[in-house]
């Protein structure tokens, strides 16, 4: 275990160095990558990533090294090298070239099975604290975050207390999108008329890049947000501020949300355009807003979401 851990640490350091050294600005702003993980899910994904690389190297490295060596050693001009034009088979080599990949893949299968179940996005992240429920709606080209227990909502910013895990339920009011905060963990599709789930947590306060990774039209690249892990007191203050100063989420605002446009366009439409990143807070959120958006797609009875129907 110890050499393996050392290997992993060296690998981690090297890869992080390669990716992050050339990107000094990355840490200055929002955390971008699971190689610089800000929560337990992303940290486990990073470890898994290095383990797989280490194991696959057993097969890959010999090829990378042997190809130039063989091509040089047995080059046409090298008259001293052995030449066996009829030789074409060897049982011992055959067993090795099938056996070693089989063994490596067997190890990888075990890793995969354990990892896939441990990091299932539908599985709650345990931190000893009750999770914060957030409902996520994908619009063209912005995300709406509904906090059903707080009665507030926001566009452009997903704030949460650092000590509590996030329990997300996602849908799309339009085409398919993919919700992703790389520094925290997995991405998951948000689909119209269906509900998917995702669990994330941060283990330190910070700002993390959030985005949509599924192309959905000309404003796709603008569909970003900031995920912010706040100390509990700051989160309480954030909620209080939205409750006090947010725009009431009535029919007019709902119509503005459904318009195709980025968070900035929305802010402008609501007369809130200011400096900096566009963040719009809402209060007085209708209690069943998320469910209504999901049901709207089902004018006739239809097959439900991937797993929601079964639950």
């Amino acid at each position: 275990m110890r050499p393996a851990r050392r290997l992993r640490r060296v690998g981690a350091a090297l890869a992080s160095a390669v990716v992050l050294l050339a990107a000094p600005a990355a840490r200055a702003g929002e955390a971008l990558s699971f190689l610089d993980p800000q929560g337990p899910v992303a940290a486990a994904q990073r470890d898994h990533f290095y383990w797989v690389i280490g194991l696959v190297m057993i097969v890959v490295l010999p090829v990378v090294l042997a190809t130039p060596i063989l091509a040089w050693r047995y080059r046409y001009g090298a008259r001293k090298a052995a030449y066996r034009p009829k030789w074409h088979f060897s049982w011992s080599l055959e067993i090795a070239i099938w056996g070693i990949p089989v063994a490596v893949v067997a190890a990888l299968v075990w890793l995969l099975w354990v990892g896939t179940h441990a990091l299932d996005p539908y599985k709650a992240v345990e931190t000893g604290q009750p999770p914060l429920r957030v409902q996520v709606v994908g619009y063209d080209w912005k995300w709406l975050f509904i906090y059903p227990d707080q009665g507030i909502a926001s566009v452009g910013e997903l704030a949460f207390p650092v000590d509590r895990p996030l329990a997300l339920r996602l849908t799309s009011a339009t085409v398919m999108q993919s919700f992703f905060v790389p520094a925290l963990g997995s991405q998951i599709y948000a689909m119209n008329g269906m509900v998917t789930r995702l669990h994330l947590a941060a283990d330190r306060p910070g700002r993390f890049l959030g985005e949509n990774t599924q192309y959905n039209g000309r404003g796709f690249h603008e569909q970003r947000f900031v995920a912010r892990a706040l100390p509990p007191a700051d989160f309480a203050a954030w909620v209080a501020r939205l409750r006090a100063q947010g725009a009431a989420l009535g029919p007019a605002v709902a119509a503005a949300l459904a318009e195709r446009g980025s968070a900035r366009d929305l802010a402008r439409a609501l007369g809130l355009a200011g400096e900096g990143a566009p963040v719009v807070g809402f209060r007085a959120v209708p209690p069943r807003l998320f469910e209504q958006i999901v049901e709207r797609a089902h004018a006739v009875p239809a097959a439900g979401g991937a797993r929601e129907a079964a639950r």
Partner: protein
């Protein structure tokens, strides 16, 4: 017609706004002018290129020859060559688009010069073209040209069908080219995911161009698969057991089987999407019970086997190249055959890994992840088989070999990223990012494209009777390798930094160094493409010095090298009898090559047919009519196509006979050329001494 607000019975949806420069005239803002100028320039290249071809053919008086020797020919070799020409033309467009996108992202911090709409069209046409109109025609062309020669056949089983397949593929490619001049292409990517490509979200003609060009091409490929598989089953020369076939034929067989089973789900998916768009159905819409998850399953049920359709023939080429240019029998033939078959079967069990992130449970994801990783085993075995073919060989670093060596080293890197992606745990992080883009280019550029270019250099002398210029070939191969690494390795880093694919612009300064590096890589690839053009020009100029009329310039092992270069229409004067795995090498080593047969017989060959060319026109016209709602064009086009098919079945004379005397004359003339020609050792392989007669490597070593 839903969505046809401005539909006119005569003009359909066609209007002045279909012209690429119209919106720049109406709204002369700076971004409109930049994008309009680029689009107009591209359209002009298409129009002027087509005009230049017409003028050239007319000036030279080539129309008759073009029609009777090429367009209506059902000779598998000519059809193969036409496929490859189509692939090269489309490759040029695909690469230029790629370089434009790389340039956009190199300048993309907070903006760039392309509009999001324009960028969306670029990544959609680039993917569609590279998969359906470069990779598929290229591999269909190579198999067409090489496989019947390798199994000792005179043609494929269904020569006219072969010409129809080419016609349908060309019609699809034509539609994509027309979309550059008239109207816009889809922005929904090469996979065309609804509901984004539904009428509600993409009301224009773009997705319709995509639907009909892909439908035409998928029909052509299904028919090609049937044709190749039957040919391999039924047309092998006496003694050519399945386990004596060259490995390229095995990969061709597996690819054909995959085509037969994998293309129909695509045709179904595009037609269902067409029903949604044209007839108000709700298969994949966001309303009335439509479910896009069905599309994702259908598309990837095609899409995953498709990547093995693409890669397996390249594996076949590399097997031939490694063995030929190492002067050695292929190591582990049975292993390679088994590995190829295992890959073909497993390729149908992994499609779900394209959407691990769709919300199914961990057991399902794990099962498909494990199936995916399992494919790594036979693929790894293949790479080691090739390395063991180098072992104790005599390796010549010719152009195909440079591609092959670059391939093994780069391909295992792509394999590593593939195994990473097979883990749902990691896929949840890098799915839909540039890491994925880097991965599949890592498989398809060193895998497929290097394989095809290696095959092009390898078999070019067989097709045209003269060798390609070796110097420019090596420059081009090295430029492809270096350009690939510079263009795509940075994308791995960008993906790990969380950058999604298909981004017209970005706002993270951390991405910039990587996008600039990738942009430079794009320029190197452009140079590699340019080198290929120069190579062809130089080679044609020096063709007299590089002729290889005897037909065996590389000391080949399989039957295609046993006949003249270029081969006669009927390939072999007398069908060869096969007694071993490398029949031509065996014959050369025994001094039994280039023998005159005891008797010559009349040879019956399929007669020319205009059906393929006609169906190409009808298919293209029907597709164009459907895109623009020109139903007065669609109905007659389909009627003529159907009528021609029926009329053809009443034709009684579908073959023509070549007299034994003519065969004898041609063969004796060639044999005389053979005996006049001195055999060269491999030291003279790449210079003027090489007239296509080889001293077998094993004998050369024994001297």
């Amino acid at each position: 017609m839903s969505g046809g607000a401005t539909w006119d019975p005569l003009l359909g949806r066609l209007g002045l706004d279909a012209l690429p420069f119209w919106s720049m005239i109406e709204h002369p803002t700076r971004p409109e002018i930049v994008n309009g100028s680029i689009a107009t320039a591209a359209a002009s290249v298409v129009v002027l290129g087509a005009l230049a071809v017409v003028v050239l053919v007319t000036r030279k008086g080539w129309w008759r020859a073009l029609w009777s020797d090429w367009l209506t020919s059902v000779d598998h070799k000519k059809i193969g060559i036409m496929y490859v020409v189509l692939a090269f033309v489309m490759l040029a467009r695909g690469v230029v688009e790629a370089v434009l996108m790389r340039a956009q992202q190199a300048f993309g911090l907070g903006g760039g010069f392309l509009s999001p709409e324009h960028f969306g069209q670029l990544f959609s046409t680039h993917g569609t073209i590279m998969i359906f109109f470069v990779a598929m025609p290229f591999l269909s062309g190579l198999i067409n040209f090489v496989m019947p020669l390798q199994i000792g056949a005179r043609d494929v089983s269904f020569p006219v069908l072969n010409s129809i397949s080419l016609g349908l593929t060309a019609a699809g490619a034509g539609l994509v080219m027309v979309s550059l001049v008239v109207g816009r292409f889809s922005t929904g990517g090469w996979s065309g995911y609804p509901p984004f490509t539904e009428l509600a979200y993409s009301p224009g003609v773009g997705p319709d161009y995509w639907i009909w060009s892909v439908t035409l091409s998928s029909l052509g490929s299904t028919l090609t698969g049937v044709n190749f598989a039957v040919t391999i089953y039924k047309q092998r020369a006496p003694g050519m057991h399945l386990f004596r076939m060259p490995l390229f034929c095995w990969t061709a067989l597996c690819t054909s089987i995959l085509m037969i089973f994998a293309m129909p789900p695509l045709t179904v998916a595009t037609l269902l999407l067409a029903l949604d768009r044209y007839a108000g159905f709700h298969f994949f819409t966001t309303t009335l019970g439509g479910d896009m998850m069905n599309y994702a399953n259908l598309f990837w049920l095609f899409g995953h086997p498709e990547v093995y359709i693409l890669i397996l023939p390249a594996f076949g080429v590399f097997s031939e190249v490694f063995s030929t240019f190492s002067g050695k029998r292929l190591y582990g033939y049975s292993s390679l055959v088994a590995a190829t078959m295992v890959i073909a079967v497993l390729s149908f069990t992994v499609w779900l890994h394209h959407f691990f992130t769709m919300g199914q449970d961990a057991d399902i994801n794990a099962a498909f992840g494990i199936a995916t990783m399992t494919i790594g085993i036979p693929t790894g075995v293949k790479v080691y088989d090739w390395l063991l073919t180098l072992f104790r060989g005599r390796v010549r670093l010719t152009t195909p070999m440079i591609y092959a060596l670059g391939f093994t080293v780069l391909f295992v890197v792509g394999g590593l990223s593939g195994i990473l992606l097979a883990n749902p745990t990691i896929d949840f992080q890098v799915h839909n990012t540039l890491f994925l883009v880097a991965h599949f280019h890592n498989m398809l550029v060193p895998g497929l494209l290097f394989g095809m270019l290696a095959g092009y250099s390898f078999w070019f002398p067989k097709a045209f009777g003269f060798r390609l210029d070796e110097r420019w070939g090596r420059i081009s191969a090295l430029a492809w390798i270096v350009g690939f690494m510079l263009a795509f390795f940075p994308l791995y880093a960008l993906g790990l930094l969380g950058m999604p694919r298909r981004m017209v612009a970005f706002f993270q300064p951390a991405y910039l160094p990587w996008t600039i590096a990738a942009g430079l890589g794009g320029l190197v690839i452009l140079f590699a493409l340019f080198s290929l053009v120069v190579q062809l020009r130089v080679s044609v100029g020096a063709r007299e010095a590089n002729r290889v009329p005897v037909g065996d310039p590389w000391d080949g092992r399989s039957l295609e090298w046993a006949t003249a270069a270029p081969p006669p229409e009927y390939n072999f004067p007398v069908l060869p009898e096969v007694g071993s795995r490398d029949p031509f090498m065996t014959a050369k080593e025994a001094g039994a090559a280039y023998q005159e047969p005891e008797a010559y017989e009349d040879i019956e060959m399929p007669a020319n047919s205009a059906l393929g060319a006609l169906l190409c026109l009808c298919g293209g016209a029907a597709g164009f009519g459907l895109v623009w709602y020109l139903f007065w064009l669609v109905v007659p086009a389909l009627a003529v196509a159907l009528g021609a098919l029926i009329a053809r079945s009443f034709l009684r004379r579908t073959t023509r006979t070549i007299a034994a005397g003519e065969v004898r004359r041609t063969h004796r003339h060639w044999l005389a050329e053979v005996s006049r020609t001195a055999a060269v050792t491999r030291a003279g392989e790449c210079d003027v001494r090489n007239r296509g007669r080889a001293v077998p490597a094993a004998l050369e070593a024994a001297e």
